[in-house]
Symmetry: C2
Subunit: 359 residues, 2 copies
């Protein structure tokens, strides 16, 4: 077992701050990602917080400022649950790095994403106690990041309209157990359908604002730049909503499999406002496509696993996947066209190479 | 002037039913499409309705059935206005036909789309009078289509959640004037962000239902099929929400322009739940890209025009465009990959050929 009780098959990209992605086979195992396999993306040291003395501060453009203990949240507000997929904006960055190097950024593969059942209270119910008077809701965590200029707690904001939706939670439990320290205990935000960065861990402060958060991570870092762009305050396009994405979970890129019928399995995720409508798979580099079977539906905010058995005669095969969402949007074909200086939001059609060998 | 007061530069694909698209230069002229240039998509003869005796019937899964005159709608409910882009699901079908023929379908070019200011009442306010008890809201028009099997009035449905949103109108005016007969007088639905087929013209009946409309057009026709798919009840994926799209409005494909600085202009549209975030233009087939300037913002439900001046030395040039929306989704690169048997929802990156000649 590695740090924080994580499974040994995590792929650790960095020890301090701790950044590790879920192993591919762990993702393929089940539609809900086991907590001890769930990816960890950190920007600073993991804070250890005394939940008894912890308080949530709600302030800013509100009718009434609040200071709330965990006990108050549990007693005053209805407990809610959502099964939601979190996806790091840097998920699948490795595919972009293969096109052109992106120094200084963790080479996340396919495992900076996962799905869990989150339990807590609705952010909207907390905001209703305070009486919000601004268009944006900012979150500040207890984790101080020295990556930031200047060093500061991690944070971000979402529009008030999203913040008040029932799926947005302040969560104290994950997959039915108390939230682990490394996943944000005692309380974290869970914003289904937005990049993982908005699901702020170790939540301490909620600020209702008139404009989006201007902290380092939202205002400088998590933005989509043009190919020749540079990082800087307010440059590029802010990231937020998650667009349609899909990936292959089994077999793995570069695997050798037994020739004959091969079960190909993966996931597709459309963000939530849109749902996954169809997934096609090709085992011959795109000459022929067949529709995959969509597996268990865990609700609008979670990915959908899919599977298809394809026949692979002996030899090398290129498996391609293309997903559609309910707006009939499909994925861009080519990773190279999505390259950007920070390597974010690679949602190109996945493409893997597999060799089929006689048993 | 052609039929129905339309400008002579409409491109007429069919006389009966009347189907005509806006000429490219008319689209390029202004961010709001003049009514006499607005595209017309019909499935049957244009009905002539006596607005004095016309009634709107609201029925189905409702607490109270309604029969409403225009006068009642005007007196009882607040007047609302929305500037919204309508886009036919077959818009840009010509690009797919160029890949592989699609017999029997109108070869819409870039002009089966347009933006107008619509005035009327909110569908949600009408539904509130009736007390909806079902998850879907169906619309039935007065236009009977013999294309349908069996022949039937045109219709469709949207989810109740969308129907109750403030942007969804029952409109009696277009660009500040009474709705023309050819555009659905005396009352039509306007569903911003959905395919044009849901904006049912010559509205007569609203039915609250427990499931989507099973009429010919929604259940059989307006669906996305796989490449080898066939048309049939419930086959393929139902169309509804509009995904990110963009096109070049000036110059036109095949034009010759004066060598030197050339102003390229177009539109981008992200549906409404997402907005247009960025548009890139290349005048050299994708070797170099520059960001276009986004022009007037008419609100979330309308397209955004963009422009960029590019330098074109003498010779042949391929202009490519790629847009991103606020979920960082971008358009698929290749029309060929989007081919489908009905030629719907072509939202590939536009590509046009232009020759620059010395003055």
């Amino acid at each position: 077992m590695s740090r924080y009780g994580k499974r040994a098959d995590m792929v650790v990209h960095e020890e301090e701050p701790f950044n590790a992605e879920t192993g591919l086979s762990a993702l393929a195992e089940d539609v809900v990602t086991p907590t001890n396999a769930f990816y960890v993306r950190g920007h600073g040291a993991v804070p250890e917080i005394d939940s008894a003395t912890w308080r949530l501060h709600v302030h800013g453009l509100v009718e009434r400022e609040l200071v709330l203990s965990l006990g108050t949240l549990r007693e005053a507000l209805r407990e809610r649950e959502v099964t939601a997929t979190l996806q790091c904006a840097g998920n699948r960055r490795a595919g972009l790095i293969a096109v052109r190097d992106i120094p200084g950024e963790a080479p996340w593969g396919p495992g900076a994403t996962g799905t869990a059942t989150w339990t807590g209270v609705a952010l909207g119910d907390v905001l209703a106690l305070a009486g919000p008077r601004g268009g944006h809701v900012g979150f500040k965590g207890a984790d101080v990041s020295s990556e930031a200029k200047p060093a500061q707690p991690f944070g971000g904001s979402i529009p008030l309209e999203k913040a008040c939706r029932p799926e947005v939670l302040l969560a104290w439990a994950m997959n039915g157990e108390p939230l682990p320290v490394v996943h944000g205990a005692p309380l974290r935000v869970v914003v289904p359908g937005y990049i993982g960065a908005r699901s702020v861990k170790w939540l301490e402060r909620i600020e209702v604002r008139s404009e989006p958060c201007r902290g380092y991570f939202q205002h400088v870092v998590y933005r989509l730049l043009p190919e020749d762009g540079i990082v800087g305050p307010g440059l590029g396009m802010p990231l937020g909503l998650v667009a349609l994405n899909a990936d292959v979970l089994s077999p793995a890129d570069g695997d050798t499999v037994a020739a004959g019928p091969v079960e190909v399995r993966g996931y597709a995720f459309a963000g939530g406002e849109r749902h996954v409508a169809r997934v096609d798979v090709s085992a011959d580099g795109g000459a022929c496509w067949s529709q995959a079977q969509l597996l268990e539906d865990l609700g609008p905010w979670a990915w959908r696993h899919w599977q298809l058995t394809v026949d692979m005669p002996p030899g090398d095969h290129e498996i391609l996947v293309r997903a559609w969402d309910s707006s009939a949007a499909t994925q861009p074909e080519d990773e190279a066209a999505l390259w950007n200086p920070k390597g974010y939001v690679n949602n190109a059609r996945p493409r893997i190479q597999v060799r089929a060998a006689r048993g």
